[in-house]
């Protein structure tokens, strides 16, 4: 049994998977790409990164395709300064600091939220921002802060929760808003002279909210294709096929492979909530990528009473004004930034698999299962830097 057979048997419809793989091979051949000079296709979403490794899709596609893993894992691109600010707020007397579980283990310079909790801060993991609002109702004498992070997928949930808090006239609930947007880092990567990208597999659930329009510039201004993709392995292969066919035919368009979940115009109710509560910042800081114009949002003036940055004087911009330049360097000796940009693979980092493991992560890419480093470690952990322990 060939390797391809073994992998494709895991698909619900192996016959179909083989047919799509054959079509990809045919289309790749038409582009003239080779193993030495491959098509470089970036999947933006961390969920896609995870799925590509889980199913070994990078090994199934022709060697003339190289997957680059994009910046779409929210906790992975969270700078240490933001984590430090979370700790600063969480350690204030009277505060109940609430967060999604994903953010608990992300290291800052003074450790993670989990470590702050162990030191006595009242940090609580919640499933939903609505749970944080419920805690505020139950503890009127405490200030409940919700750590809002993530891309456009989670923004409607925090926006709707803040709207609800305002309707109730709640005075002890605030959002520490660190939401970020998907299109600006794509532009930053395309503007980076060190990057060579041939096309994108676009995020599914972010697109379910924002629709296809925000990606148009990628095709129009940069001449690159993007195909919004679902999360099943066959979805991803079909999306890769659509990207490669565009390249082979000299087209650059924004296409939607995941139309069964993603309407071309996105979700209007979600967009309205986002627009009501949030407004773009001039710039925002990304771990590994630095400051990117208009890549984050803050809360509008009308919601200042629910803005933790206003209540505590802590946050992007505020901390920076206080400290001069508060953009902290990354963990010494790691190559997180180069990995996030897709310039190097995780095993090129001297810390990968040695000091930095999923159990004891140095960088955020090792924390989340959507991070490229954790994905390599879990599913492809055989190629390590010389001297590193064997993971597989």
């Amino acid at each position: 049994m060939s390797a391809t057979m073994k992998y494709t048997d895991e698909f619900r419809d192996p016959e179909k998977a083989r047919a799509v793989l054959a079509a990809i091979a045919e289309a790749v051949a038409r582009t003239g790409a080779t193993e030495e000079n491959p098509l470089r296709i970036m999947e933006i979403c961390g969920g896609h990164t995870h799925a590509i490794f889980r199913y070994g899709l990078d090994k199934l596609v022709p060697k003339a395709i190289e997957f680059l893993h994009g910046p779409g894992c929210p906790v992975c691109v969270l700078p240490m300064t933001r984590v430090d600010e979370c700790l600063e707020i969480a350690e204030r007397p009277g505060v109940i600091f609430t967060t999604f579980g994903d953010a608990m283990r992300v290291p800052g310079t003074r450790g993670s939220l989990m470590q702050a909790k162990a030191r006595g801060a009242d940090v609580r993991m919640v499933y939903s921002p609505l749970d944080a609002l419920e805690l505020a109702r139950r503890h009127p004498d405490r200030e409940v802060v919700f750590f809002g992070l993530g891309f456009e997928t989670t923004m409607p949930s925090t926006a709707l929760t803040v709207q609800q808090a305002k309707r109730e006239g709640r005075t002890n609930f605030s959002l520490f808003c660190n939401h970020i947007l998907v299109p600006p880092p794509i532009k930053a990567l395309l503007d980076d002279p060190a990057m060579r990208l041939d096309g994108f597999v676009g995020p599914g659930h972010v697109s379910m909210v924002i629709g296809l329009e925000p990606y148009r510039f990628i095709a129009r201004d940069y001449g690159k294709p993007l195909v919004v993709a679902g999360f099943e392995p066959l979805d991803l292969l079909q999306s890769v096929l659509m990207v490669v066919r565009q390249i082979a035919e000299g087209r650059a368009e924004i296409e939607n492979q995941y139309a069964r979940v993603v309407p071309d115009h996105g979700n209007p109710a979600a967009q309205a909530a986002i627009a009501d509560v949030f407004t773009p910042r001039d710039a925002f800081d990304w771990r590994g990528l630095g400051e990117i114009d208009h890549s984050g949002v803050r809360m509008r003036e009308a919601y200042a009473a629910f803005d933790a940055e206003e209540k505590f004087g802590v946050g992007y911009g505020k901390t920076k004004a206080r400290a001069g330049d508060a953009t902290l360097p990354e963990m010494e000796g790691t190559r997180c930034g180069d990995v996030i940009k897709g310039l190097v693979k995780p095993w090129a980092c001297p810390k990968f698999g040695r000091e930095c493991t999923p159990e004891t992560p140095l960088g955020a890419l090792m924390v989340s299962s959507e991070g490229a480093c954790a994905a390599y470690r879990l599913y492809a952990g055989v190629k390590l830097a010389p001297g590193a322990e064997v993971a597989a």
């Binding site: 619900r12 979403c45 961390g46 969920g47 995870h50 799925a51 889980r54 929210p74 999604f100 579980g101 994903d102 993991m125 919640v126 499933y127 939903s128 921002p129 609505l130 749970d131 419920e134 139950r138 993530g150 891309f151 997928t153 989670t154 409607p156 949930s157 709707l160 609800q164 659930h205 972010v206 379910m208 909210v209 999360f231 099943e232 392995p233 069964r260 979940v261 979700n267 109710a269 979600a270 909530a273 299962s369 959507e370």
Partner: protein, 98 residues
């Protein structure tokens, strides 16, 4: 956090705050339906399948898509994690941890 999980709307509990109950693999949870409410209003959603992200229904999907998505999430090891998070949240809201 980003992948969400499919569930079926079983009842509407508060039309003013757009809240309903969704069954996610046998675990019931109050979910905000503001982003999927169509012209039929909330009652029309009962029986519909939705994709739930951190307590908010973000997209209406058909039953086949719901089943396929759940399978994909199980294979990625994300389904159990999400269901456990919902369970823990329900326990907290029930007052097990005040």
């Amino acid at each position: 956090m980003c992948l969400g999980i499919p569930g079926q709307v079983v009842e509407i509990v508060d039309e003013a705050s757009m809240m309903g109950v969704v069954d996610v693999s046998g675990v019931r949870r109050k979910v905000n339906l503001a982003c999927v409410a169509g012209e039929g209003g909330l009652p029309a959603l009962v029986g519909e399948w939705v994709l739930v992200h951190v307590g908010f229904a973000m997209s209406r999907i058909d039953p086949d898509e719901a089943a396929a998505t759940l399978r994909a999430l199980e294979e990625l090891g994300e389904a159990m994690e999400e269901i456990e998070a919902i369970r823990a949240s329900n326990a907290m809201l029930a007052g097990a941890e005040s």
